[in-house]
Subunit: 358 residues, 2 copies
Amino acid sequence: MFPKQSHRLGAVSAILIAMLMASCAVTPPQALSLGEQGSFAVGGTVVTQAGDFDPIKPTAAGQSFHGDHAYVFYQVPVSPRPLPLVFWHGYGQFSKTWESTPDGREGFQNIFLRRHFPVYLIDQPRRGNAARSTVPISITPTPDEQQWFNTFRVGTWPNFFPGVQFSRDPEALNQYFRQMVPNTGPFDADLFAGTIAALFAKTGPAILVTHSQAGGPGWLTALKSSNVRAIVAYEPGSGFIFPNGEVPAPMPSAAGALEATGVPLDDFLKLTRIPIVIYYGDNIPDAPVTNPGQDGWRVRLAMARMWAASVNRHGGDASVVHLPEIGVRGNTHFPFSDLNNMAVADEMSRFLQRKGLD
Amino acid sequence: MFPKQSHRLGAVSAILIAMLMASCAVTPPQALSLGEQGSFAVGGTVVTQAGDFDPIKPTAAGQSFHGDHAYVFYQVPVSPRPLPLVFWHGYGQFSKTWESTPDGREGFQNIFLRRHFPVYLIDQPRRGNAARSTVPISITPTPDEQQWFNTFRVGTWPNFFPGVQFSRDPEALNQYFRQMVPNTGPFDADLFAGTIAALFAKTGPAILVTHSQAGGPGWLTALKSSNVRAIVAYEPGSGFIFPNGEVPAPMPSAAGALEATGVPLDDFLKLTRIPIVIYYGDNIPDAPVTNPGQDGWRVRLAMARMWAASVNRHGGDASVVHLPEIGVRGNTHFPFSDLNNMAVADEMSRFLQRKGLD
């Protein structure tokens, strides 16, 4: 009888356990559990028109205009790692870069939330959700997507590169083209860097992840904020800074000459105090070709290597990873949203782990 | 001994239960648990330039331009309710309307995710993250914020209305002004309604929540998609549609005359087949005043009442809730982000519950 009793107690426990597991199962293993999410503007300027504001017949007189801030959407997973990731899009893009991929899979936003990093997505000033610019502009829609298809190294229009990590579903290309937005004011690397430095004042120590055109203002941000504890740069396209007197000659290509900029050595040395990794994808030629979409990347990769060598010569820790050389093949200009973006994320995770940043 | 044994089994169960509860506790009660989140473009047009694309010296010839789509960010909580909420911002605004409030509290995005609704946030075509427009535009930053302060009924600049549900922290006003973005193309109610109807084809049956200027294209969306199962409209500002022959005369105010539009009766009757609620906040005058910021709302509230009466006369289920009349006081033009937005959300939840929509 007592054994029976104890079995009955065991059965009750089993039911209780099953009930508790069921309540746990409300959160399936693949659920994203967030401790917090929200959005805010950071940085920016204020323009004020002279005069007195007339509430009855209002004109610009006496009124203000807030603009040139960045917009930030952030999510903090439960059990977060200590250092957030701050993601900065490239030319013509916005925070979408890091969200769902063109073919509808998860991008770096979700992938790194699942790896327990707080994730901050930026729309830089005068772009997307931060479009309120203090500088006037005219926007003329100009058909340009075949050129982007080539420049982003999906292929040579209308052909995809063999083995390229981009979906052949036409809807993926539709989504890809629609993830662009115009500038609503001039690009201003120094202004933007100051704005993102203000974001790092808010986040505290964090890791900056840049794409393409954000590479240049990304380096400048690290000069302005010691809270930038590492930089991961995907395919920086321009804006390499060298110590004054060590600036390399412009590098000609079919896409034009790539020029570097000089900064005081003291500023440059700040880049030697943090780990930096630069990734480039596939289908970048070794020797000059006539297609500007590909040839521009030949000189950018070459200059990135010269730049990393300069950082390291001055005592830094910068590396350039050309993904096909480590067996990660077929990547476009957007490795983080390519079909193999999980392998690309794994590379980034290994870098963060090696440098003790996770 | 056997009793002791069974106690021991009980103790083991207790430990197991405690362990399971601890593993549940990784997700604290206030965590947001999402089954899914992502973003996509929906709708839109494609412009193609005649000619052959030249990859070596590219011009617009032979190239395409995708624009005029909406951008959508969606989140689906675990254990979702059946009908998603689709949130559509108003004039000069974008999805931020529903995110963190100007003073940094949770907006309707988080509040209704916590209430287990799937949440879709729109940036309408030619706005914010959907800024890629097929129509050219010139944008001139014009100081206008004191006028918005008045029109959004925060107060009469520089004074806040007594008891207004808006933070007195200057940073809240800074965030508020920075949550505006310019149009990057003309406002086109019919085009926008078609785009959001395309979104409802994707979501399936769902509830549309509009703010201000989205009110008008919101009604048009329900004409185009039977997947719009209810509409919650916060402070619709224009675009009321009546059956042809029943259109009221323009209603003059210090902010100009408010005009309604006629549509075929068959179209109008579609609005009688779904529950509709309209909310207006506080500080809307009963009689004409000289301040256009306040007076415009006097006629909008009056027309909304005429409109709801017309819908109901034709057999529909529309109601207008003037929040101070039910004891919810101090609300601005943005009740969903005001200091009392939890009470405002409770009102909306009660509506959804009464209509069997939750």
